[in-house]
Each structure stands twice: as structure tokens, then as C-alpha cells.
Symmetry: C2
Subunit: 307 residues, 2 copies
């Protein structure tokens, strides 16, 4: 099982480099991350976007564009469509968001003709590592689904579990987080959490162990779970943390980063392949982690499809 | 300005010890915290509850009950009422929750005849310190108000600002946290956050600087705020973090504790005095911090009233 980002990157390095298609690649930070991932032997890349600006940004990033194929499409929407089309046609393994709004690349991903639509819910899956814990945490949804319904949460869990699977965790422990560990009719999140637990018990959510409602402390700390008298394999040992809404998810993700000095990565799941997503504010390290995670999960999904 | 829990405790030690009334004191952990606070010179205490059990729990805790007044009221509801009545009659400065459900002591606090009702919204205010930050964070509401309305949030801010004031911060910087820093009609939390900012600009919320929506990173990290191009005195420098709902608040609080190794304290605000609240799972240190915080804020509110 992959328990650190170092081991994640080493695992991806062992495979053949996959090709990523970078949509609207005309950005120094994006190119710098792509170049680093190339140097690490994680990827090859097709840079789709404004060729002139890509060249300029590449110079700023001190990278040699001879190592990459460039497709000149200055229009951002069209560049996104081209990047997903390359994946659809097998010329690249997965797309990466460049200097373009997330909504624009997702629209391309969901395009009926040349996109990567699979009919499933798209959701953001974060992977975060905090010192002192023996595992990487898979967290969802911090960035896409604002107020997911019960059915949305089923799909959010499914997407997150696939990422945990790709990390080598065959039976992830999924905590459905709430503000408390008891069901309270005044707190709808606790009702959803209980229902998701039951659906898992009934075999309607498979490939993982689901428990909720759990407060964050009972989910990740065996001592806190014991203190509250909660005895369940997930309590205190959760690998996957599902938050009730985007606010809780976003705050958890950023709290782990800024207060817990977490290393992190993030991808969009639910399409035929993952979409690599890096935010402008994120560190070079985190961008590299996201690329490695995307490649790892794409490889896993391919194997999965072939079986 | 008080920037650490060490300095908080030293500040309270400088004053005359205040008397706290412990409601349903028959619990080893609660008594142990009360005894520690007594030894530190922070408080005197009246122990209200089942006298026989208090004696037994005190022995377990290795404390000398001669140092404390005991009022024998085995019934928990009545013990809570007595504890708040002692405060109402000036025989104690503020109440502390013992071995009783929070709802029971709050019902006593809100009792029209002998309670401590002030007509304001009760809210939980947490104070948390994380290494690497130059200030204590005031966080609300992690534990009481499930889905606060806009008006509730105005009162939640008011209660939190009073705590920041008591810590010596005369013009606290209040970030109204959301999942993003842009107003999005699909995310009601962002609309509330913008409205709270405007109310502050119009002078309808005073004694603090309010800014929202802010994501957690733009609220506490000057670099993240700069990256997003947000230039506002609160961005990156927030002291007070207001979460959109109880789930986000609870997860933030516990994430800071478990991933950020935060030291913490918590009280209920909105009544005539603070109510000291410690949870069973919290450390001895955190219980002591909560007692010290309660006393500090009670002192501050008294001065405030006299002015």
C-alpha cells in the first residue's frame, strides 16, 4: 500500500511514462510542474494552447519545449476540447488543467462527442498526508459538489474508493463525517451518514467499509473513538473521509494543509479517466503529486477495465 | 494581546481567583481539571451534585474536597439549576458543565427565573493555538448552532468578537469562511458572507473587521491571499474564523486539534456569563485552558458591564 507521496512517485516512476494532454498550457507554473514530472520520468506531455505563449512561458520556466509536442490552439475552449479528444482517441492517457477555469475543462470533459463522459458524477478527490499518521487520507468532496444529495454521496464514495484502491488499499475504511457521532434528525448530514452505512451493510455500496455519522476525531483517532465507546473497524482508522458538503470539505482540506502541513494532491474523478487539477496557489510539490496521482489512478482504471 | 495559552493562564493568575459553580460535579475528569485550576490559582469552586459520588470521584482524582464547598443535589437537572442560580445571585462568577448533557445545563442557563438568559443567541466559541502562527484563533460555531441564519451569524460573530476582545484584541479580524472567495449564488454561504461584510461596512456589525467569503487559505495565509489577489486587512490575517455551519466548524476545530496539534479551549457565549464546557475526550490541558478562558471572559464582561 502506498503510504507516502514519496512512495506514490516512486511507484509511478516504475511504470512506462504516460502521456498527459495539458489543456491551455500557456502558464509558467503549469509548465514548470509538467517539466518536473517529465524529468522525474512520470509522464510525456502534449501541450495544447497558444503556442506563442507556451514558448514564452516555457522560457520563463527554464524548460526545453523540444521534449514536448505542442498543438497550437489559442482559444481556451477549443484547447480543452482538443486535450480531451486526444485522450478519447488514445493519443494521451489523461488530461490536465492548465491556465483555464475548471468549469471550461470540465465542460470539455463532459462533451458528448469528443469528451470523456462516463455517465457518473464528477467529484473532486484529494489525497493528503500529515506527519504522524501511517497512511494517506483520501478526502472528498472539497471542490466540486456543493451540497451533494444522498445519491451523489454514493457516487462520491465510489470515486474516492477507486482512488484508495489505486493507492493499493483493497478495502478502504470510509468515514462519513458529521459534527457528531449520533444520528440527530435536526442534522440532515447525520441521517445521510447513517443511510450510507446501511447501504454498505446491505451490499449497495461495495468494495469498502462505510461508517457514519462520525465526528472527525472518532474517525481518525483510535483513542477518541474509544473515549466515545465507538467500536467499529472504521472508527479511529478511516482512510477515506467523506464530508457532508463543499464547505466542510474545503475547510478540512485546507486546514490539513495550513495547520497540519499536509502534503497534498487532487484530481477529478468520475469521467473515463482522472483529470489532473492543480490550483495556482498550490506548491510545486503538490502539483507534482497531483500529476503522479492522476497517472497512478489512470493506470489503475485501465487495468480495472481490462479485467 | 494574549497570543498563547501559557500567557492566557498567566494573565488569569494575576487576578483574584473567581468562583466557578460546577454543575453535576460527580466526575473524576471534571474534578481533576477543577482541582488543577484551583492549584494554579485560577479559581475557587462550588461543587454542585451528588455529594457521595463527588467524594468518591474526588478520591479517585486524588484531590482534597476540603478546599471546595459541596452542595448535595443528586438530581442532575436540579444541580444545573442550582449552579446557575449561584451565579445569578452573585455567589459564583460563572458555571461549568460537569457530568451532564450539554442540553441540560443550557436549559438551566436559559431558565427565565433563576437562569442567566440575556436574550442573545447562545453559541460555542473555541480558541485554538497552532504552532507556527503568531496568534490564537477564535472559532465559531463548532458545537451548538447547526445551520445558523444570517441573523444568527451576526450574533455568532458578536459572541466570538467578545472572546477576542477579552484576549486583548480590540479590533479582531473576522473571516467568514466558505469554500471559495467569490460570491456564488449556488453557494448560499457565500451570499451570507458577503452580506455580513456589507453589514460591517455599514456599521451594523461593529467592533471588528469582517470579510467574507474567504476560503480558509486566504483567511489565514498572507501568501495564499496574495496569490488570489485579495487585498483586504482581514485576508491572510484573520483572528476570528466563522464557519458556515456546525459541520464545517466541528471539522475545522478537530482538524486543527488532530492534524495541527492545536491546544484548545471552549466556552458557550451569549448568556450573562460564559459557560465553561469541557468534553470528555479533551485533554487535561484543554480542560484547564477552557476554565482559564471562561474566567478571563467573565472578568472582561464584568468590566464591560461596569463601563
Amino acid at each position: 500500500m502506498i503510504k507516502t507521496f514519496k512512495s506514490l512517485i516512486e511507484t509511478v516512476q516504475k511504470g512506462e511514462p504516460k502521456t498527459i494532454s495539458v489543456a491551455a498550457a500557456e502558464d509558467r507554473d503549469v509548465l514548470s510542474a509538467v517539466n518536473m514530472a517529465y524529468k522525474y520520468g512520470l509522464i510525456k506531455a502534449v501541450l495544447v494552447g497558444d503556442a506563442r505563449r507556451i514558448q514564452a512561458a516555457a522560457e520563463e520556466a527554464g524548460m526545453d519545449t523540444m521534449d514536448f509536442e505542442i498543438i497550437d490552439i489559442p482559444d481556451k475552449e477549443k484547447a480543452c476540447l482538443k486535450a480531451v479528444e486526444l485522450v478519447n482517441k488514445g493519443k494521451a492517457t489523461l488530461p490536465m488543467k492548465g491556465f483555464v477555469d475548471t468549469s471550461v475543462i470540465l465542460k470539455a470533459v463532459l462533451d458528448r462527442e469528443i469528451g470523456l463522459k462516463s455517465g457518473k458524477l464528477l467529484s473532486h478527490v484529494g489525497v493528503l498526508g500529515v506527519k504522524g499518521f501511517d497512511r494517506l487520507f483520501v478526502i472528498s468532496d472539497s471542490a466540486m459538489n456543493i451540497a451533494p444529495t444522498l445519491q451523489d454521496k454514493v457516487e462520491i464514495i465510489d470515486n474516492a474508493v477507486k482512488v484508495a484502491n489505486a493507492l493499493g488499499n483493497k478495502m478502504p475504511k470510509v468515514a462519513v463525517l458529521c459534527a457528531a457521532e449520533k444520528v440527530n434528525p435536526k442534522m440532515p448530514a447525520t441521517i445521510d451518514a447513517e443511510e450510507l452505512t446501511k447501504m454498505n451493510e446491505r451490499g449497495e455500496i461495495t468494495g469498502c467499509l462505510v461508517k457514519g455519522p462520525l465526528a472527525l476525531d472518532n474517525a481518525i483517532s483510535p483513542e477518541a473513538a474509544k473515549h466515545k465507546g465507538i467500536s467499529h473497524p472504521v472508527a479511529g482508522n478511516a482512510d477515506v473521509l467523506i464530508t457532508p458538503d463543499i464547505e466542510a470539505g474545503n475547510i478540512l482540506n485546507k486546514s490539513m494543509e495550513y495547520f497540519g502541513n499536509a502534503e497534498k494532491a487532487g484530481i477529478i474523478m468520475g469521467a473515463k479517466t482522472p483529470v489532473i487539477l492543480t490550483s495556482r496557489a498550490s506548491s510545486d510539490e503538490s502539483k507534482l503529486n497531483s500529476i503522479a496521482l492522476g497517472v497512478l489512478v489512470a493506470q489503475y482504471l485501465e487495468t480495472f477495465k481490462q479485467e
